[in-house]
Amino acid sequence: MNILFWNTNKKDLSDIVVALANENNIDMLFLAESGIKPHLLLTKLNNVSNRYYFNRIRGCEKIHIYTRYNDRALKIISETSRITARELYSYKLKESISFICLHYQSKVNWDEGDQNAYSSEIQNFIKRVEAKTRHKNTIVFGDFNMHPFQNGMIQSTGLHSTMDANVALKRSRRIEDNIYDYLYNPMWSFLGDNSKGKVSGTLYYSPSKPLNYHWNLFDQVLIRPSLIASFDNSYLDIITKFSNIDLLKNGIIDNAYSDHLPIKFSLKI
């Protein structure tokens, strides 16, 4: 199952999104800051064959979901204004999978301290979803607006994600009297020039300030240990080019499209 997430920066990129979805044979398409009216994109996506549904919203207006599954198959588990949790049954695994997509507060409005402090609420949301669904086959993805190495992504009371699948496969760790479940973050593999992919981030921002990463890897996918075996690492990518469209200009993101690059990943489910 191929999944794509893209923060489209409120732009009408409908033709681009359709080309992207078709070329990558996308089963589940998640758009943040979508500037496209859902019925218009749906009509374009289904122009050739009727394979996509727009999955209804129950509070999370920030994320639009188009998938090959209707609302009965892809059920809403929980939603807040910035996070949505959906559940789908995998006939291959004979288990249900939870898809949690989020668009976290940006660094424009919150500094890193705010983001880190509030990341415990994301963990609480994930815990509530896992308690409700009674399984931990959870994948969390979206625009975190945090670096993979930022405290909110790492700390035990936040996302508690790790760069190493073998560490994540230990399932959890104890700190004082509490046990914290791991998430595996394969996006670390994109950091730096000698890493996976053509770019080192999904957003390029280079202000004239002393502290500057230039490339920011804000769009990420995190996986619970139980899904690591089903995660196709070879498919995971930050998309920079498809069809005849180049999302980069002079090596950085071409803002004529979005200020973010899309990410794609796949689960063998």
Partner: protein, 128 residues
Amino acid sequence: MSDENLWPEDIFKNKVEMPKAIFIEQANNLAIMSNNVILGEVHTRMEEDIFGEKILVHDFVMRAPSIDNYEYTLFTARHELIHPYPVSIPFSGIHHNITDADRLKKLLSEIFKHEKTRQIVTSIISQI
């Protein structure tokens, strides 16, 4: 013990096209025709009539998830749990009692062509 089979040979030959199957087929056609913008759904529940007999109730719902999840129940059909026909469908002030699948399809065709249905679809599409 006798070896004689008292069951008639043709007992499994007569199949009835169930109302729900017909509704679902037409619901799917609506989705296909509208590029999944308007979905047809059949919501089925069990109720008891005034005599305590179990009846199946099917709501034929038109839903547009991409247009604020707009939802409208076009009609409701009822029949006994054991007997799929007659199926009763009140629509636009007329109470229809349908005795077989062919007549049901004919009625559905009339309902889908009806001015009321057209107005609902136009109202949904106009929001686009």
